[in-house]
């Protein structure tokens, strides 16, 4: 079959099971946009800024486990993707980004809207391609989907010249790929698995650190099984949230800088840490020299480069967690660690009295962020798909939404990209239309991607948006308060009228200033069929506690 490169691209995307493309047209990608008219099966969502296309593809990928696809033009279209690619790289998210490139004979001539896309994106993609001829398209797409979704997932960039899009070639979808250097290890070393099981069986105070890898590997059941069988407490990282139901009796809380007191303190009391699909980020470990001094560490990850990168692993195991846990569980003896669990309960009580009760159940003063999230959690029964931005809003959501269902949390972890939540929520809702989707943002982050409101309205994407408005860049303000002598520098935001803004986008919205209106506003939003925005006017100078100050160890958390 003789087709244009653009048609081959569409055919190949369909072969790989793509259904949705988040994109924005422009000069160097016009042949593909022309071809798209012939492929109505590929639903195109017209974003209002390319960065949003990448985040929407991330949201879609994180919600479905399938690669998200975005399509942009050359030059500025491609450079606008950079933040999304870096975010996807940090958070191991499979996305395929396709950008037009100037015609091959113009490359290197500083042509109109030319940018060295492969050069720019090399360090922030798992792999990238420049296509110069239509006969390369099918194989590249096949390789790209394989690379994006297998092993440690990540973003793939495909830059395709305008002539490669419009020239003709014979189309036959390849059956094989040629990647001799790419063979992710799936099966863990059986000897290492045995050693790990032996160590777990002997441990008195074991702790499971469950990360994003559990969700990527779809090992939620195995994790719960292991925890139950050996009676081991499970703490999650930020991206590990909802890899175990939070009403599971083994769940003990969130790790990290603003995590729960128990898991952080107990990291340094544990004798064995079982790290599953985590990368020991500095926001989790705090000061490395003060991290888990007495624990033996079992570290399971599919990316060998993560093992002993930050924290030395005593028993490193390379492979897919689901497979490894399946092998390991039969070797694990039943055990009881009630006394060890009571340690977490003790810390929880301290944290509850000092922080949680006042944050989630205040009786006077301005609305607190925590009570908004707690109310949302109660109203949605912990079953909504929650997309959080970055900053205080994210930490409060991570702390106070009570996730009772698996795989219900998406946020920007490694890169911490402001503005992520709104487009990511679009993509997540398109990927999981049956789920109730809430985007939680701050007033600062919302203004970084609010142009996507136009897309949300145009496509009638039924997401609910919460702005926790404290008129500040809250997290930066908190740090200036705590660590820069309370001197505020450029953190106050004189905000637009978010309600009128939403109305301008034809999205219904309301503002909540009084405590007693929180529930009714959330109820109205849930009843409304279509996108809906609630702005909560919250306490302006509230700090998120506990906090592990930078340079502190995990057991040096501050409660106030």
């Amino acid at each position: 079959m003789i087709l244009t490169g653009a048609e081959i691209l569409c055919e190949s995307l369909l072969k790989e099971g793509a259904e949705v493309i988040f994109g924005y047209p422009g000069g160097a990608i016009m042949p593909v946009y022309d071809a798209l008219l012939k492929y109505p099966k590929l639903r195109h969502i017209l974003v209002r800024h390319e960065q949003g296309a990448a985040h929407a593809a991330q949201g879609y990928a994180r919600a479905t486990g399938k690669p998200g696809v975005c399509l942009v033009t050359s030059g500025p279209g491609a450079t606008n993707l950079v933040t999304g690619l870096a975010d996807a790289m940090m958070d191991s998210t499979p996305i395929i980004c396709i950008s037009g490139q100037v015609a091959s004979f113009l490359i290197g001539n500083d042509a109109f809207q030319e940018a060295d896309v492969v050069g720019i994106t090399t360090m922030i993609t798992k792999h990238n391609y420049l296509i110069l001829h239509p006969n390369e398209v099918a194989l590249v797409v096949k390789e790209a989907f394989h690379l994006a979704a297998t092993g440690r997932p990540g973003p793939i960039m495909i830059d395709i010249t305008k002539d490669a899009q419009s020239n003709l070639s014979d189309f036959k979808y390849p059956t094989d790929i040629n990647l001799p250097g790419y063979k992710p290890t799936v099966k863990g070393n059986p000897y290492q698995i045995q050693k790990a099981a032996h160590l777990i069986n002997q441990s008195r105070q074991p702790l499971i650190l469950a990360g994003h890898g559990i969700i990527i590997s779809a090992a939620e059941k195995e994790l719960a099984h292991l925890a139950k069988k050996a009676n081991i407490p499970v703490a999650t990282t930020l991206l590990g949230i909802s890899c175990i139901e939070q009403n599971n009796s083994c769940y003990v809380g969130l790790l990290g800088m603003h995590g729960n007191l128990g898991p952080n303190k107990c990291t340094n009391e544990a004798d064995v840490l079982i790290a599953l699909g985590v990368r020991f980020d500095d926001r989790v470990t705090g000061r490395l020299s003060g991290y888990a001094p007495q624990a033996k560490i079992i570290h399971v990850d599919i990316d060998p480069a993560e093992l002993s990168k930050n924290v030395k692993a005593d028993i490193p195991i390379v492979g897919d967690i689901k497979y490894i846990l399946t092998q390991m569980i039969p070797l694990i003896k039943k055990s009881c660690h009630d006394e060890w669990f009571s340690q977490f309960a003790k810390y929880y009580q301290i944290e509850f009295d000092k922080v949680i009760s006042t944050e989630t159940n205040p009786t006077k003063g301005q609305i607190k962020m925590g009570e908004v999230i707690k109310t949302l959690s109660d109203q949605t029964k912990g079953k909504a798909l929650i997309i959080a931005d970055v900053g205080q809003n994210q930490m409060i959501t991570a702390r106070y939404y009570h996730f009772k269902k698996l795989d219900r949390f998406i946020t920007t972890g490694g890169l911490g990209t402001m503005g992520f939540a709104l487009p990511a929520a679009m993509g997540a809702k398109i990927g999981r239309p049956q789920d109730e989707v809430w985007a939680i943002m701050g007033d600062g982050g919302f203004q970084m991607s609010m142009q996507q409101m136009a897309t949300i309205e145009e496509e009638k994407i039924n997401i609910k948006i919460i702005i926790l408005n404290n008129n500040y860049l809250g997290m930066v303000r908190q740090w200036q308060h705590l660590f820069f002598n309370h001197q505020y520098s450029e953190v106050f935001l004189k905000n637009p009228d978010f309600i009128r803004l939403a109305e301008g986008f034809r999205i219904p919205a309301e503002k909540v200033k009084e405590r007693e209106n929180i529930i009714s506003a959330i109820k109205r939003a849930r009843r409304h069929k279509g996108p809906y925005l609630i702005e909560f006017e919250v306490e302006t100078e509230a700090n998120v506690f506990p906090i592990m100050p930078s340079g502190a160890a995990v057991d040096e958390m501050r409660l106030e």
Partner: protein, 162 residues
Amino acid sequence: MQTEGNLSTLIVLVQNRPGVLFKIAGLVRRRRFNIESLTVSHTEDPNISRFTIFVRGEKEIVKRMSKQLYRIVEVVKVSDPSSQDIVARELALIKVATVKPKSRLDISLITRHFRARVVNIHPEYVIIEITGNEGKIDAFCQNMRKYGIIEFVRTGRTALFK
């Protein structure tokens, strides 16, 4: 692992695709690995290129570097052989001044002693070719310094498994 004052040789076989050198150089820069030399060449297989990276650092750092290299999709195999397992050589070309009296004779004696070769003769200088390990080349240069080294180039380490 080849250790000569914390120096190791990494032999990296890669798929011969455009941009691999850029990716490896980017990795070295971003992760701040300290490399002494890097050579690239074809191999007996036209689809595969060979990088020889001579790297300075503790054993752990070299190990981390080889794991990071595997993240590059085109990288097929990374080896960090011990010095007993490889034959490693470098080639250097040295332009030495011969204007001082008697220097031409001295230089040719030393050159012969090091089993190097004079490959070009000019009224005011000679160009000498020498192959060997880094220590031999360093020692030869040391001996040439007093005559005046006008220009000097060395290829960096390249190595084969025994």
